[in-house]
Symmetry: D2
Subunit: 367 residues, 4 copies
Amino acid sequence: MSPSPSVDAHTRERIPVALLGATGTVGARLAQRLTDHPWFELVEVAASERSEGSRLGERVAPDAALHPRIAGLTLRSPTADFRSHLILSALPSGAARAVEAELAARGHLVVSNASAYRDDPRVPLIVPEVNADHLALLDTVREAAAGEAVPAPGGGIVTNPNCAVAGLMPAVAPLHRRFGIERLIVTTLQAISGAGRPGPSAIDLVDNVVPYIGGEEDKIAAEPAKILGRVEGDRIVPVPLSISATATRVPVLHGHLESVSVQLSTPASPDEARRAWREFRAPEAVAQLPSSPERVVEIADHPDRPQPRLDRDRGSGMTVTVGRIRPCPVQTLRFLVLSHNLERGAAGAAILNAELAVADGRVRSQL
Amino acid sequence: MSPSPSVDAHTRERIPVALLGATGTVGARLAQRLTDHPWFELVEVAASERSEGSRLGERVAPDAALHPRIAGLTLRSPTADFRSHLILSALPSGAARAVEAELAARGHLVVSNASAYRDDPRVPLIVPEVNADHLALLDTVREAAAGEAVPAPGGGIVTNPNCAVAGLMPAVAPLHRRFGIERLIVTTLQAISGAGRPGPSAIDLVDNVVPYIGGEEDKIAAEPAKILGRVEGDRIVPVPLSISATATRVPVLHGHLESVSVQLSTPASPDEARRAWREFRAPEAVAQLPSSPERVVEIADHPDRPQPRLDRDRGSGMTVTVGRIRPCPVQTLRFLVLSHNLERGAAGAAILNAELAVADGRVRSQL
Amino acid sequence: MSPSPSVDAHTRERIPVALLGATGTVGARLAQRLTDHPWFELVEVAASERSEGSRLGERVAPDAALHPRIAGLTLRSPTADFRSHLILSALPSGAARAVEAELAARGHLVVSNASAYRDDPRVPLIVPEVNADHLALLDTVREAAAGEAVPAPGGGIVTNPNCAVAGLMPAVAPLHRRFGIERLIVTTLQAISGAGRPGPSAIDLVDNVVPYIGGEEDKIAAEPAKILGRVEGDRIVPVPLSISATATRVPVLHGHLESVSVQLSTPASPDEARRAWREFRAPEAVAQLPSSPERVVEIADHPDRPQPRLDRDRGSGMTVTVGRIRPCPVQTLRFLVLSHNLERGAAGAAILNAELAVADGRVRSQL
Amino acid sequence: MSPSPSVDAHTRERIPVALLGATGTVGARLAQRLTDHPWFELVEVAASERSEGSRLGERVAPDAALHPRIAGLTLRSPTADFRSHLILSALPSGAARAVEAELAARGHLVVSNASAYRDDPRVPLIVPEVNADHLALLDTVREAAAGEAVPAPGGGIVTNPNCAVAGLMPAVAPLHRRFGIERLIVTTLQAISGAGRPGPSAIDLVDNVVPYIGGEEDKIAAEPAKILGRVEGDRIVPVPLSISATATRVPVLHGHLESVSVQLSTPASPDEARRAWREFRAPEAVAQLPSSPERVVEIADHPDRPQPRLDRDRGSGMTVTVGRIRPCPVQTLRFLVLSHNLERGAAGAAILNAELAVADGRVRSQL
């Protein structure tokens, strides 16, 4: 990554942004985070066909609490002609597949929270503190396969991970770099807001846990190896890493808690792991992005932490909390990780990726 | 185990029982289960000193819903002279240590839910479907160490496991017998009632999970190896078995959910595991005990099961439900287990042990 | 009401029943209550067009736990030709309006939980313990207005109240009969299952209350006056009764709690009210219906009762619990009422009405 | 009230404050609100005897998240010699009775959240936006009754209302001033944090409501009439006002919701009530206090508001939200009120009273 040092974030004009899937839970969070953003100005919004022509404010859930200027924006089709070069996408995965490729082919830089392209080895899947260098994939000139739309110059798709993976990576990456992770077993206790609206019925989450989230375990098993991988030519080569995931939904509003056991290549004690986390730093260019938290990982020392309600908002939801770090009698270490699924896990992740793209000189004001 | 075939449960007089720790959450459940019990009649109750002399009904939580006859019993001291030979104990572990040994030394058979003696290799820790034969330890004549009270003839202590272990064993034992379990990693999502009253503050479990239960993980790591072990002389020799446990408390009333990954000695597919569970049977003498459920283990086929609220009451809380049986990319298999923590995990477990002791000819009507 | 004494419920053949709206929350409860019903046999099921042709078991929520015979019934259209004379309807109110009138015109007796005809003065709105005599409206021969379908002989519609009203009436009727109720102010705390599936999103009921239930307050204000009214010719004349209702949704699974203040015509003390409730009896013919609870109203003496989780299941969900009976500084008395919204408030209410119709000699085996 | 206009809050030195009952839920909130307070500096803390000598940080719940400087303060006895003239008290009511009178007799100004003196007609019970003028009671020289401690000059006790009343008054006062309130019926749905720690057991508030809060209803019935009353000589004469209150505890973390019906002396429509609320203004001197919210009352227009989780944090928890304003068929109007029980209802209320005392020239830096 080569951040352009001449860019002065604080004096330049704000960059116009279009937001797709603006009416959902993640879309509304994106709209909130964009409201007073120092670099971005949300000027275009889109959602599914049936919302087209409505004001955004009429189509979001009443808890969204949008700024009046943003609530007043008129919803367009996700395939409209957008004047913003930068497009943030919170589309459902099905819709995202066709729309995002088309917009990239028109030259837009699409920073997407959707899962549609995460497993495409030619599309960067980025957690800026971990693999900002994967952005370089955008420079590859791609040959179009039959019937495939390829990005126009300056266009492309950048994705962020699934919410449970996004919360896991800041805990996993420092261990992997220092000790190597060979195997990982994780059980997640995921918050309701991770399902978006309407999400599960309240009937199912009173006095109950639902031990299944469709598609989630496969994403948790696959995405980390890609994020920890390296660029070779026009694609990412993942690291070898076996992950076994069990995903459950618990009666918590926000905050995914993950119970992790890892097998390390080089043995490490809990104290050595603590040191790895404490010394973990984002690359300098990433640390200076507006949505970068002061600390990527914090360690909770109290034996009954991290807890979703008490720890999810650290670093405006962008700091991940690790706790209960113990030797594992079966593998090397076990610990718990807590992250805000809508911030570190979705909206904040996408914004951070968009900021990274700006710092890397990849974003223009207009198409 | 040699059940006395001449015992006819349905015609004999009911056996008087004393209940210690009757005012707590598990104590109240025991009192409920004893209300219409075909073999037992609750005639004596005891609790801590400060309740002595009160009626039981005045000292239990209002949700206990005791039968008027039982609510009217007067609370005695746990070290009173009880006329019942059989004593059920739901004492807190601290109180249990001294009291239970003393009562055994006086010749009582103490069937205890307390953790005080679970890790004593000379005291049976029993899940009747799994290791009813461990009762034979009661026949050992024990030399008293200095300052130690030893059971009088006919006296002794029988324990049941910690609630999370009690729910796990019916799932683990069939796999262990058929394929051998070498290593097990488990994350529990435990219900609030497992903490008894007052238990956690409601403040801590609204919109939250508490990822810590004091002492629980050590019990989960240690007890299964003893239960799966065998009697040698006057003690149990545990099997070799590495267990890594992480215990969390979730906003659920009853029902412990456990996310398990196992490494088997002999590889097995999910279908082979299913077969092992389906074919698992309690010994005939155990299967005929009044509190034995028709099925010890049931397999939930729906992909989002087992769920605490929907599955905890199967078999009057004595059936354990297994679901989501999948190959584990890191070990051999993974699955979820759900059990009712107050029934299979505590009160029902103790009653089943008491019934086992009766069937095994170890219980007299009077001291 | 003139129950035909020659009917011997216990020896006669079971009466076939068709169930409309079988796939919803109330429909599934009805199917459960019909499973071992001594008088009825569920033989036909129907739901909305898009479920037609499916097995019932494939279309209900997994927590419905239907009997395999019933789960195997094939869903028909709600306007199919049913052979059962008796039809239970749990249709959504919109669908109910046309369907129920048509079925009544074909000669079916439709016992409905839907709100479509509750406010029609010519259609009985019945709580059997209170106004079983309103069934006599079915004997009226009605002139068809233009474009209106009128019941064929033997046909008709019988409704039960809204769930909050159904729970309120057993508390209100005894006071009204003895002292006269002039004004009533009620705030309800209603359970989630009252909204059916999917009902509110889990996001909205974690750490929250939603103080609004569409249409509910108008129903609570209107229905009691009709139920307490009397038959005049072909219609019900309601009693004068001012009701002010505020309806809220709370994070409780089942059980509507209602905080009530009443202005009585004849002053009464809490003790006099208690006596009125204790002495309240269903008419003998109603008391002998299979779904009639032993006690219609129970009084909870503990100062912190009634509570939804602890009291909702009294009398298999058909007993209403009253508690905290106090003088009201503003009106005469205030108290709390708790009822099971799916039993006393919906499925149990409809079944009881159907049983009443049978006892009253209005139900044939076949159309 | 005569605020001293020469006081310049922003340039003067910060006023030292002692905090009693610092370890409880309200105490911890007070400590948080004092952390960056523009006028006050928390320099002394006290709690019950058994905490004496510990650091505050060791004795508060882990969710208190205190500033390190404040966490490091050493706990003293509540009757220690404090150098601060101003003392904030969050003591339990029993302890408060003796302690607060003694401290006032020593010349301290005690601003208390405890209920001990709220019903004493000689002690001001203040909601600054409503009855700041009641502070004048502090100027009365009081004759000591036998055995009674009377405040020394400059000393005295100022109280704020019970949390449910504190949230109700900003809604009630504007109606009372403009139309007169004669009678009020209220059912509260109160949050768990209102009970402090440990408060109710989590067992009691899963899938449940507890319709009883000891002592609460009497406070709600009595306090508003005093707050709306006027000073006559050395005491408050309450207004005539009949209040009927039913208090329930619901599974919500923060935010008391109250369902209110009022009988007005002068009839008013919902629109006239809305106008009264919109035009309601705190006295200018109060509006400029640092903890005064921009708006004392806000009106929620959406039909399903106010909701605890969505509305409790308005105005940093000091703004009260009114919604669902409708004519009442029994009295004049009904509506819902939502307030943050720990801010507007407790810690924020006490701080606002302390600020009022400062602005009114009643607080010195040292005893």
